[in-house]
Subunit: 414 residues, 2 copies
């Protein structure tokens, strides 16, 4: 499978190509490999060239972008030319767009009518979130899928229309099985060192992939084989996974595709327990990570961003003597923060963080990247000092410190 991403904005560097990642992930999940992503601008010549190159490598091509009503959007025409047919009006799409405008209280314009045209050999893929339909066109072995570039429109069409159509068409004899584990509390390279000999001993039809995302490092074992031997393959993967888990049990937080926040949330909700946070250097990022999870209100009461010492003293009751004697970035201060947050929010667990996210504010004793973390629980308060150095800058330090804090809480919940 080749993905062609079309759009000048992708070549200016201000728009990151998240569409390609989303499509690749969806395909990966059903065992289809993406061989290449080609990113080009909104012009006829480049789109033609990319399409020709892509079909030389693969029979399957997905394009995104270049379907809007503006003058730049010419993907549809290039595809129609490639498959040697013309653009024709798709009546159901025209009706859908007309109805969409009617509900907005406006009339459909000529420009919008044009969006309902698709290559004669193709079929329209319903777009519930925008005017441009997706298009599926195939001839012989070749399949092209044309999707809009607006991420939420593309995503819905991909999940609801494209994946089911691909699954219908693909080879039914091969089977691909994935097994996943999610790790926390350790970096990718350190983990890689620990499991190296196990990884090198994997048989050829089983591969390991590291899939890091902000706040989550997932490891995915993929096994390939004949459909007839599916059960055997599954057992083999389970066996390999067990071996992996036995190697580094403390760092494996889940055998599903879930983040540490999800794992923590399940534990807290199950016990009917509540969480609150007090953040200094992470400045709200930890609370944000937690509240990105739908339904976070079931276990998360809230938090304080105590960015100044005044707020640490006056709202969080951090003792003046601790601030003076040990400084805001100290074990004493995060203990005060965590204990008082637990009381203030009347919760079972409280996380407190104080550190130096940089780029300034570091000292030789407490360089940029240093942070103290405390987790207060009904039975005890634990603390940890971390230092992630300056690599990656302020944003990465904030992410890493928040990740370490969540892992410290996770350990207390075990």
């Amino acid at each position: 499978m080749i993905i062609i991403s079309i759009g000048n904005e992708l070549l200016y560097g201000k728009t990151v190509n998240t569409n390609a990642s989303f499509i690749a992930e969806q395909l990966f999940n059903i065992g289809i490999e993406v061989e290449e992503v080609i990113t080009i601008g909104d012009n006829k010549e480049d789109i033609e060239k990319a399409l020709n190159q892509a079909f030389e490598t693969s029979n399957w091509v997905i394009t995104t972008g270049g379907l809007g009503p503006t003058k730049d959007d010419i993907t549809k025409k290039v595809i129609a030319d490639y498959f040697d047919c013309s653009l024709v009006m798709d009546q159901p799409t025209l009706e859908r767009i007309t109805e969409m405008y009617r509900r907005r209280g406006t009339q459909i314009t000529e420009v919008n009518r044009r969006q309902a045209k698709i290559p004669e050999k193709g079929i329209a893929l319903r777009n519930d979130h925008g005017t441009a339909p997706g298009i599926w066109i195939e001839e012989g072995e070749k399949v092209a899928v044309i999707l809009p570039g607006v991420p939420f429109e593309m995503k819905a069409i991909m999940i609801e229309e494209v994946i089911p159509l691909i699954e219908k068409k693909r080879n039914k004899n091969q089977v691909v099985i994935h097994k996943e584990i999610v790790t926390a509390g350790i970096g990718e390279s350190a983990l890689s060192d620990l499991i190296e000999s196990w990884e090198l001993a994997l048989p050829g039809h089983i591969t390991l992939a590291y899939l890091p995302t902000p706040g989550k490092l997932m490891l995915r074992l993929t096994g390939r084989g004949n459909k007839a031997e599916k059960e055997l393959l599954d057992q083999e993967l389970e066996h390999q996974l067990d071996q992996l888990i036995q190697l580094v049990p403390q760092y494996i937080i889940s055998t599903k595709n879930e983040s540490i926040v999800e794992v923590i949330s399940k534990k807290l909700i199950k016990k009917g327990q509540k969480l609150a946070v007090a953040e200094s250097c992470t400045g709200g990022f930890l609370a944000h990570q937690i509240t990105l999870l739908p339904g976070a209100s079931q276990f998360f009461e809230g938090g304080i961003v105590s960015y100044s010492n005044t707020i640490k003293r006056e709202i969080l009751n951090v003792r003046e003597i601790n601030l003076k004697k040990h400084g805001a970035v100290s074990e004493f201060v995060v203990i005060d923060m965590a204990m008082n947050t637990m009381n203030l929010f009347d919760v079972d667990y409280a996380i407190a963080i104080s550190g130096i996210a940089g780029p300034t504010g570091g000292t030789s004793e407490k360089p940029v990247g240093t942070a103290w973390i405390a987790v207060a629980s009904p039975t005890k308060t634990v603390t940890q000092q971390v230092n992630y150095g300056t690599q990656g800058g302020r944003e990465v330090i904030i992410q890493r410190v928040a990740g370490a804090a969540l892992y410290l809480l996770y350990q207390q919940l075990q």
Copy 2:
């Protein structure tokens, strides 16, 4: 210029190709256009093919990835083959790596020594943050730049070594001038409608690009011409920019490449004023956006994430009658939140947000995406209701509501 991004992880969909965007942006800033980004896996055949294709289109190629010490990394060999030379030990690089390991208290291994080898026709580009050096190799008209895939290593080499070398080599007669404005308070398509006739009337050598990033929509005018006419071109761009600003003055927050948080921070710091926030549905994201800015402590005191009604009542003193009569997502409640945050944190300005980020929790009266925002200031409290619908999901709603809140504060600071 063609960018080749190398790495299996980029084709699995879990790693977004931010390296290509960064490189494209750096090149765009010095007026160099990227024609294509080719993303491929870590294998010899695909790297060779991509390199051949790239050099057919352009004389300039930058690659990232595939320079680590593991078995998969074969970019360097493919490049050496392409330029018909062998890999030789680069002594300064070897010394740098040896010293790096010495400082870590370990000995350099054979695998790490290999990282100091570069194609004989190339020169090493210093990598202060990792072992693999960048490589610059040229022959005739062709230039290839080989960079590691680790983002912070790549970024430093790109800025410190590659850009200056490119500027040295490029055509000295052409001049490219950029003028930028940053907008807020309006979406891309609504803005596009407002300025359409101005945009269509731009002369051919001046182009407009929309450069949206989370929390910032930048418009960039680019003018191209001969070096001899640089001053004239600059005046022309200034004139066009003035016309644009006169069309939509209320939405233009800066003529520099700065975010709304930076604009707000400058105004507050200048007046010696302080800010605090109270967040419900945005759950810490607003505080996070603010504290991503280095030096935010100069104007930002902190915030409360009042995720539960209990916390709204008990910490923020939101009146029970307002919660009962109007609900947590109401003008009355955000006014209480903002006023009490102003008092609690003893600040000049306080932002309060309460809304429904979804996917559940919406009603017919207050559907998902609805939020109330209040900004309390020394002289008055203003409020705004927004509804961004469900498109884009929870994370996008959170970002948009936080963006609207910052714009409401920005207006009060004018």
